[in-house]
């Protein structure tokens, strides 16, 4: 998923950093208008760590295994701050776990952050429209990966036509991931709407109904 150091051209890398810095500050400023940002830091950080840990799950699919990105889910739960959360996640991955590249943090953050922000709005709008949170969660989770693959291919191809093979391989490996993340995100959103609705950016209409179920969902 991540683009490593040394793959992209200097122009693409500079563009990625510019967009990421602008978007990160814009979303941070936006959030600080609504609430005190120093109050948010501990909560935000614990959630970022949680997403980081969740993305370490390896799922066996056929002969290989994939690991999740969860950018759709991060977007739904953290809202605009999702962008910064993904930047922090990428910084930690690059420096402390030697995964992904340092120069490409900007472009990688863009590739997974923009879909996260879009799926947040898609989820909110879709739910207001009357679609159930389960379907909207699945849609946002799958669409986020789909957009990520598109953006990833665009960044690879703007660097050079030679990368068409790499882009094809990464698109092929992300196709099953899209389905997997759609199902998991849908299931997480359903779970959260029953157990802790305040984590979702929506007001659950059917509170009475969900109270009848056991506190920790039905499968547990």
């Amino acid at each position: 998923m991540h683009i490593s150091d040394g793959v992209l051209s200097a122009t693409v890398v500079t563009g990625g950093w510019t967009i990421t810095i602008v978007l990160a500050f814009l979303t941070l400023w936006w959030r600080s208008q609504e609430s005190d940002i120093t109050e948010e830091i501990p909560k935000f950080s614990v959630m970022t760590a949680a997403f980081f840990v969740a993305s370490l799950i390896h799922l066996p699919i056929g002969p290989t295994s994939v690991h999740m990105i969860f950018n759709g889910l991060v977007g739904i739960v953290l809202g605009p701050l999702a962008y910064l959360s993904l930047v922090v996640g990428l910084i930690l991955q690059a420096f402390l776990f030697q995964h992904g590249g340092v120069t490409t943090i900007g472009i990688n953050a863009m590739n997974i952050g923009i879909p996260a922000l879009l799926s947040y709005y898609a989820f909110k709008k879709g739910y207001d429209f009357g679609i159930s949170e389960k379907i909207m969660g699945a849609f946002s989770g799958g669409a986020a990966i789909f957009m990520t693959v598109i953006l990833l291919s665009i960044t690879l191809l703007t660097t050079g036509q030679e990368f068409i093979g790499v882009a094809q391989v990464s698109a092929a490996t992300h196709a099953p991931l899209m389905i997997v993340e759609a199902i998991i995100t849908g299931s997480v959103v359903t779970y959260l709407s029953k157990v802790k609705p305040e984590l979702l950016p929506i007001k659950i209409h059917k509170n009475e109904k969900s109270m009848e179920g056991s506190k920790y969902g039905t499968e547990f």
């Binding site: 490593s4 150091d5 040394g6 793959v7 990160a24 941070l28 940002i37 120093t38 109050e39 830091i41 501990p42 909560k43 935000f44 950080s45 614990v46 959630m47 970022t48 760590a49 949680a50 980081f52 840990v53 969740a54 370490l56 799950i57 799922l59 066996p60 889910l73 910064l84 922090v88 996640g89 930690l92 420096f95 402390l96 776990f97 030697q98 995964h99 590249g101 340092v102 120069t103 030679e162 093979g165 790499v166 094809q168 391989v169 997997v180 199902i183 998991i184 995100t185 299931s187 997480v188 359903t190 779970y191 959260l192 157990v195 802790k196 984590l199 920790y216 969902g217 499968e219 547990f220």
Partner: protein, 252 residues
């Protein structure tokens, strides 16, 4: 639990370890950005040799370095292999369907070398310091307060939550659950992640309250100072010259 931390060998005495953390962050970042865009194969090979020699200068145990860098390098190598087979050009080995081209081999090798050099430098930057030293240096470099704090807390909670997640997984496997990519398995994983998020959210609230009660105001307090010595200036100049040099040399 014991984790393979990147700063496990930060107490060794060496030139790299004693390099001023602020200067180290700036020069090593310059090196990473410079190495990642090298244009010629010979210079890229030199960059890899230089970063490997830095590993030896830093006296880090080879086994530790190998364990940390093995998987990232395999991952970069995979890109090299894909490039070999997919870039169009003069075919050197192979038939119509599967063929290795000269252009692909060259470009793939260049990317592999650049990425390896940058990877080693990034690893050394973190491995030769305690993590909190780097953080203090980042504050002194006037990085946005909020961002640095978010990095620190997230890093700290990753290990807490890995433990918590392992416990949850253990209790699930004790009840006979296996991670599988089918409809039932995925929705159970979804519930597992949902539970992790709920637990983390509640933990975040507790952490926040306990921090407030200990006088947290959103600003770190520091009483350490890292003064720059003569050797720090010398090393800084050397590294910066090198970072610029790998780009100027091919032009001359």
């Amino acid at each position: 639990m014991n984790y393979p931390r990147v700063d496990a060998y930060s107490e060794i005495e060496s030139v790299i370890h004693n390099f001023n953390p602020r200067a180290k962050i700036i020069t090593f970042t310059a090196l990473i950005f410079s190495f990642a865009f090298i244009e010629s194969l010979t210079v890229a090979l030199f960059a890899v040799l230089f970063s490997v020699s830095l590993i030896f200068i830093s006296k880090l145990p080879i086994g530790f370095v190998y364990a940390r860098l093995k998987y990232p390098i395999i991952f970069i190598f995979a890109i090299f292999v894909i490039m070999c087979f997919t870039v169009e050009g003069n075919i050197i080995i192979g038939s119509y369907f599967v063929s290795v081209t000269l252009e692909g081999l060259k470009l793939g090798l260049l990317i592999f070398l650049r990425a390896t050099a940058a990877l080693i430098i990034a690893f050394l930057m973190l491995a030769t310091n305690r993590f909190d030293t780097i953080i203090k240096a980042l504050y002194m470099l006037k990085l946005p307060n909020v961002v640095v704090q978010m990095i620190v807390f997230s890093y700290r909670y990753i290990f807490v939550l890995v433990d918590e997640f392992q416990n949850m997984k253990k209790s699930m496997s004790a009840k006979g659950f296996e991670i599988k990519a089918n409809r039932y398995g995925l929705s159970t994983i979804g519930n597992l992640i949902g539970m992790l998020l709920v637990k983390s959210y509640e933990r975040g609230e507790r952490v926040h309250k306990s921090m407030i009660s200990k006088g947290y105001e959103g600003k770190p307090r520091m009483d350490t100072n890292y003064n720059l010595m003569f050797s720090d200036y010398a090393l800084t100049i050397f590294m910066i010259v090198l970072a610029l040099g790998v780009h100027i040399y091919p032009v001359i």
